[in-house]
């Protein structure tokens, strides 16, 4: 400090030269630097201001000024820090920078070496967030026990989001691919800015007031979604009315807001929290290929079960026939065989027809299904082939092959007794190959 009363004279300066060293610019700068570094208040600084000019160097460091109506401050963010920040300094933004004051020797300038940046007002928002979170948690709004399971196969999926933007497209694309059997009903809202929270609440209510005219069904599940954005952009999802509307919604709600790292209170209240809107869409529907595999598996079990039934029936027929042969007249045995034979015959034809059906659906399914599932299906197909062959052996056709025929009366019943036919009746004769239409010429009753 210069003394104003005793202006410095050259002689005095010379005279004091021995005790007062003349510093080089570099030495002085180091002195200033050490003084600044020693000041505890400057080591950890939080400073709020408006961003002035911003420039990014070739090396990737960001230089900008923070200013208010009284002063300005040079700031720098080194490349590595800058790339880690969720938030960029842009001219005109009001923000809070955190870092330490140091001197940049080469330019003789002190500056703030920024380690983190937050939007201005963050402190208020963070306080509001924590206070509301504590209040709603105390009411039990976020409790695990309140969370409802998602329906396994929703018919109607409500989606609350903006009509503009990629989010709705993404949700639609995911559901169209995985589960096109569903229907999406969009309830549009504003997802950021003034009044957004009220439109989200209204959109949720609109969904709960809707039912399908034809089926009377409401939505089975609701997705509330928004893409990534700044803390302020996501703020409507921390609004008390929105959080309460999510918790109180009549059907389960999946909330997918922003990116994985963004956390909002609406997500705490959701029945399921999804890290992103696309994941929310994945979570609410099953995958078509999984269900197709399940249906095919059931189909194989159906075939197997019928084969099983037929096999045990054949054994029963054999046993009963032996018992009958011992006690009953031949005619009765033949009649029973005929009846069983007819049923088995129909079963055989069904299975044979089924084989054809399976071949076409299998061909289609094979395109969609992973190779593994297709392999399982071809095994099922082989089993069907064997069953079909076994059934053919049981069929009355096997008897026809030996030269017997089946005669049916005008009403289609099998004729076993000549007394049931009369002259002039139209009858049909089933041979091994084909059928003959005939008329009864005469009836001779000969008791066996």
């Amino acid at each position: 400090m210069r003394d104003p009363i005793q202006p410095m004279q050259p002689q005095q300066a010379e005279g004091k030269a021995a005790s007062l060293p003349i510093l080089s610019v570099g030495d002085l700068t180091v002195l200033i630097k050490n003084t600044l570094r020693a000041a505890p208040k400057l080591r950890e600084v939080w400073v709020e201001g408006e961003v002035g000019q911003v420039s990014i160097s070739a090396a990737g460091h960001c230089y900008f000024t923070l200013k208010d109506d009284k002063a300005q401050l040079k700031c720098v963010i080194f490349r590595d820090d800058r790339l880690m920040m969720p938030f960029e300094a842009r001219t005109g933004l009001r923000l809070i920078a955190q870092g330490n004051i140091d001197v940049f020797d080469a330019q003789g300038a002190y500056q703030l070496y920024v380690r983190s940046l937050r939007p201005s007002g963050f402190g208020d928002l963070a306080l509001q967030f924590e206070a509301l979170k504590a209040k709603l948690a105390a009411e039990g709004l976020f409790e695990q026990a309140r969370k409802r399971p998602l329906p396994p196969m929703p018919h109607n999926i409500g989606v609350v989001t903006s009509l503009n933007g990629a989010v709705l497209h993404d949700i639609r694309r995911v559901i169209a691919r995985r589960w096109p059997l569903a229907r999406i009903v969009v309830s549009a809202c504003q997802v950021q800015g003034q009044g957004a929270a009220a439109t989200i609440v209204a959109a949720l209510r609109r969904i709960s007031r809707w039912t399908d005219d034809e089926t009377g069904r409401a939505t089975d599940v609701v997705i509330l979604a928004r893409g990534g954005g700044s803390l302020e952009d996501l703020w409507p999802f921390n609004d008390e009315a929105v959080v309460r509307a999510v918790a109180a919604h009549p059907c389960p709600v999946v909330v997918g807001v922003g990116h994985e790292t963004d956390v909002t209170l609406a997500e705490f209240a959701a029945d399921v929290r999804a890290p992103t809107p696309s994941v929310a869409a994945e979570l609410v529907v099953p995958a078509r290929v999984d269900e197709l595999a399940r249906v095919n598996q059931l189909g194989a079990r159906l075939n197997g079960a019928l084969g099983q039934t037929l096999t045990s029936l054949r054994q029963q027929v054999t046993t009963e026939t032996r018992a009958l042969e011992a006690r009953h007249p031949q005619a009765q045995i033949t009649a029973d065989r005929e009846r069983i034979g007819n049923l088995l015959d129909r079963a055989a034809r069904l299975v044979a027809r089924r084989l054809e059906v399976d071949r076409t659906t299998l061909a289609r399914a094979a395109d969609d299904l992973p190779a593994l599932a297709a392999g399982a299906l071809s095994i099922a197909r082989g089993e069907l082939g064997r069953e079909s062959a076994a059934l053919n052996a049981l069929s009355p056709y096997a008897t026809l092959e030996r030269g017997y025929s089946i005669v049916r009366g005008p009403d289609g019943t099998v004729l076993r007794d000549a007394r049931n036919a009369k002259s002039g009746d139209q009858i049909s004769v089933r041979l091994q190959r084909g059928e003959i239409g005939a008329r009864v010429e005469s009836v001779r009753d000969s008791t066996p």
């Binding site: 709705l168 999406i184 007031r209 159906l302 079960a305 019928l306 039934t309 045990s312 079963a347 069904l350």
Partner: protein, 97 residues
């Protein structure tokens, strides 16, 4: 002879009913049919009827899985407060926004 007339398979009404079932109901019925048939102890006529019903249910499920197209609608509030769903088309090419 007290034989019932030979079963001619599912009635038209049953076919129509199955052809209109939603997927989850068709799948649940299909599963029931398979389990019932697997449990056995049924008369042959009934086994075959179940089998035929199962085939119809399987076809219904497969058809829905392969042919369904996503319905995409928007809820609109009408005068009087009634909410209706109207078809919504976001052209696949207007990806921006």
């Amino acid at each position: 002879m007290s034989d019932p007339a030979p079963n001619t398979g599912p009635t038209d009404a049953e076919r129509e009913r199955i052809a209109a079932l939603p997927f989850d109901v068709a799948l649940a019925e299909f599963k029931q049919v398979v389990e019932k048939l697997e449990a056995g102890n049924l008369p042959l006529e009934q086994s075959i009827a179940l089998f035929e019903q199962g085939v119809l249910l399987q076809r219904r499920c497969e058809k829905m899985l392969s042919e369904a197209e996503l319905r995409f609608q928007r809820l609109v509030e009408q005068a009087g407060g009634k909410v209706r769903a109207l078809d919504l088309s976001l052209g696949e090419n207007e990806e921006s926004g």
